[in-house]
């Protein structure tokens, strides 16, 4: 079905002689489900682009070797033709929609082919039926959660009826429940005989679905595993390959984060109420969080996690009072003491060098030595680079360093590990723990169980705009958290 023969590729803007992919040979049979895995930057996304034709038709560069899909060479066909056989779902739900309404989006591919209206309507019907999307039809794309967007993306590809599905890290922005829904969709696709190629960090949801795992390293195919041979590897071996866990049940990290013992007292939040366009999104009567903890904020997409974090740091409009040791802290004061590391770190890089970025708007008095902070956060080598030229992980590190150097006390992280491989995830952990040593509270909005077990000291579970549970991550807490994650349907 898909055949890559001796393929090497170098992106236009990559360094001279640096090939992003080197001599790749790969065969995928009809009806197979193949997972591309490996560390960030290993070339798995590039392989998906070879198959869906974005290379060489969209991303320019030097291409050697040949890629065949269905016995025809990709390079000889226009993208529009390829799109009828190969459907693509991308990582970022925010940027892959051409339409503003869901129905229009599902119809988009068919409209491009000029199919008759009745035919398109029938296909939308079928896709909605198969993926249970009925409730989502006719809605605005901008009102959907990440998981819903990803399901719409799958449906819109399905409507074109391609034989091959190519997915590039589709689960990056999804919560646990949405990952399970995505898996259901993939199972249905496989059962109906589609060929599936997925590049992915999170492997656990693919374990009873994928036939083969291709492990890439530095642009080369290092090893190929069958499901069974991969399962045989020990959890340590998987981690050392830079891969995420294969089985959520196996996560047994006892390390955890460390509470900041330098601060004492309790944050008390009372009668917190937040409304958005008339709808109550958050309604918390009373909540106590011990100071110094690193709190994982979990819950479904849209449950109110981000709203809670925004209220806490005083940037979101709300009613209610916040106390630390019975002293009220007003919103304005909280905002001054807070810093949020956003999911899209690009939004918070403003200056022309890492050094400027970190010192931006920090008054000189008593903020400690800049070089020491750089050392501690491991950004000495990139101190003079332009922030926008850094890799995603490095950008995140710069953002965290800015918060530390500015002496911020409330640190909020919005899904800091989405789309990170094992190594980067561990690095993010170390950084967050390092930053927490001077913080009065760290809140981490996340869906990543492996990460929570490694990094956090407490869990705040928000559901339907209220607190479902708050507990410390002691031995009992760990069991409870794992239980909750595994029971999400």
């Amino acid at each position: 079905m898909i055949r890559l023969k001796g393929v090497s590729f170098r992106y236009e803007n990559a360094g001279e002689g640096v090939y992003n992919l080197k001599d790749i040979d790969l065969n995928v049979e009809k009806g197979e489900c193949v997972v591309l895995c490996g560390k960030s930057g290993c070339g798995k996304t590039t392989v998906t682009r070879l198959i869906n034709g974005l290379i060489p038709h969209y991303y320019e560069g030097q291409l050697k070797g040949s890629v065949f899909v269905d016995k025809t060479e990709i390079a000889d066909q226009p993208l529009a033709k390829i799109s009828q056989h190969v459907g693509s779902v991308f990582q970022n739900p925010r940027s892959q929609f051409f339409n503003v309404d869901t129905t229009g989006e599902i119809a988009f591919g068919c409209e491009n082919q000029g199919l008759a209206r009745a035919e398109i309507a029938g296909r939308i019907e079928k896709a909605a039926e198969l993926f249970s999307l009925r409730d989502l039809l006719g809605r605005s794309i901008f009102d959907l959660s990440g998981g819903e967007k990803q399901r719409i993306a799958c449906a819109s590809v399905y409507a074109v009826q391609p034989d091959i599905f190519v997915l590039d890290e589709p689960s990056s922005n999804l919560d646990q429940a949405a990952v399970i829904k995505l898996k259901e969709i993939l199972v249905k696709l496989k059962d109906s005989g589609h060929t599936i190629v997925i590049s992915e960090h999170r492997l656990y949801y693919l374990m009873d679905l994928a036939d083969r795992f291709i492990y890439l390293e530095d642009g080369k195919v290092k090893t190929q595993y069958t499901r069974d041979s991969l399962m045989k590897l020990s959890p340590q071996a998987i981690s050392s390959m830079g891969l995420r866990t294969l089985d959520l049940r196996q996560i047994n990290d006892q390390s955890g984060g460390k509470k900041n013992d330098m601060v004492s007292g309790v944050f008390r939040i009372e009668n917190l109420l937040c409304k958005m366009s008339g709808r109550t999104v958050l309604d918390i009567d009373s909540l106590c969080i011990p100071a110094g903890e690193t709190v994982a904020v979990i819950g479904h997409n849209g449950a109110g996690k981000s709203t809670f974090a925004r209220c806490f740091c005083g940037i979101g409009k709300h009613r209610g009072k916040f106390y630390l040791e019975e002293q009220e802290i007003k919103a304005k004061r909280r905002l001054k003491k807070s810093y949020m590391v956003m999911q899209d770190v690009n939004h918070q890089l403003f200056t022309e060098s890492v050094r400027d970025e970190v010192t931006l708007n920090v008054s000189d008095s008593g903020k400690g030595d800049l070089e020491t902070v750089f050392e501690k956060m491991g950004i000495v080598s990139i101190a003079d680079n332009h922030p926008l030229a850094l890799s995603g992980g490095q950008k995140q590190r710069v953002a965290i360093t800015s918060a530390v150097y500015a002496g911020k006390k409330f640190l909020i992280y919005d899904e800091p590990t989405s789309g990170l491989d094992y190594e980067s995830m561990c690095r993010a952990c170390t950084l967050i723990n390092e930053a927490a040593r001077n913080a009065e509270l760290s809140l981490v909005i996340t869906h990543d169980l492996e990460f929570i077990m490694k990094c956090c000291t407490a869990v705040l579970h928000i559901e339907n705009g209220t607190v479902k549970a708050f507990f410390l991550l002691d031995d009992k807490g760990r069991e409870r958290l794992k239980e909750e994650f595994l029971n999400i349907k």
């Binding site: 803007n13 969209y58 332009h386 922030p387 926008l388 030229a389």
Partner: protein, 196 residues
């Protein structure tokens, strides 16, 4: 540059649409904040020209091909004229054609030609104000009927016909500044970071 890469591809058209969106959102935000306040509306084209320079510069360096400037001017023109001021469309297109040819003269790579091109293009930022010329007689008339002759005279005094020339001049000055600022910003950030 060869002729093949100079042709606009669908990819370029999508990028054009995205930047046009950014351009008009900023344009209309500034106009709606400042445009209705007497006196302040006089500097709205200036402020707009300065701010929009960065967007223009980024846009033309992302898609350095013949036609993109014209597309942007058509979009701005169609949007500003959709309220009924057809003059705005003609104005924008004329300005766009001029700016396009200046950029072309610079071979779509000269910094100075781009700045010159934007200085001209910045005149689109006063396009919404053609309304002043066209709506004014009727407006004054109705003010007279509603509020009396004194008031109408006061309004008339604040918006003489030649104000449109002043607005154009202001837009041009703003355009020069905006072009230089935008060009600097581009060099300082996006060229250095390898984005364009």
């Amino acid at each position: 540059m060869n002729s093949k890469t100079m042709k606009l591809k669908t990819k370029d058209l999508i990028v054009a649409g995205a930047f046009a969106a950014l351009y008009v959102v900023v344009l209309f935000s500034v106009v709606s904040v400042m445009g209705f306040v007497p006196i302040l509306y006089l500097i709205a084209p200036f402020v707009n020209s300065v701010i929009l320079g960065s967007i223009y510069m980024m846009y033309v360096s992302k898609v350095p091909k013949f036609g993109v400037i014209l597309i942007l001017s058509a979009v701005v023109g169609l949007l500003t004229s959709s309220g009924g001021v057809w003059m705005a469309l003609i104005w924008c297109l004329a300005v766009g054609i001029a700016a396009e040819f200046i950029a072309r003269a610079g071979g779509y790579c000269s910094k100075n030609f781009y700045i010159a091109s934007y200085t001209v293009f910045a005149c689109t930022s006063m396009a919404p104000f053609w309304m002043l010329v066209f709506a004014k007689p009727a407006f004054i008339e109705s003010c007279e009927a509603y509020y009396g002759a004194d008031y109408a005279a006061a309004i008339d005094k604040f918006t003489p016909e030649w104000i449109i020339l002043i607005l154009i001049a202001i837009a041009l000055i703003g355009g020069l500044i905006g072009g230089i600022v935008g060009s600097k910003l581009l060099k300082k950030h996006f060229k250095k970071a390898g984005v364009v």
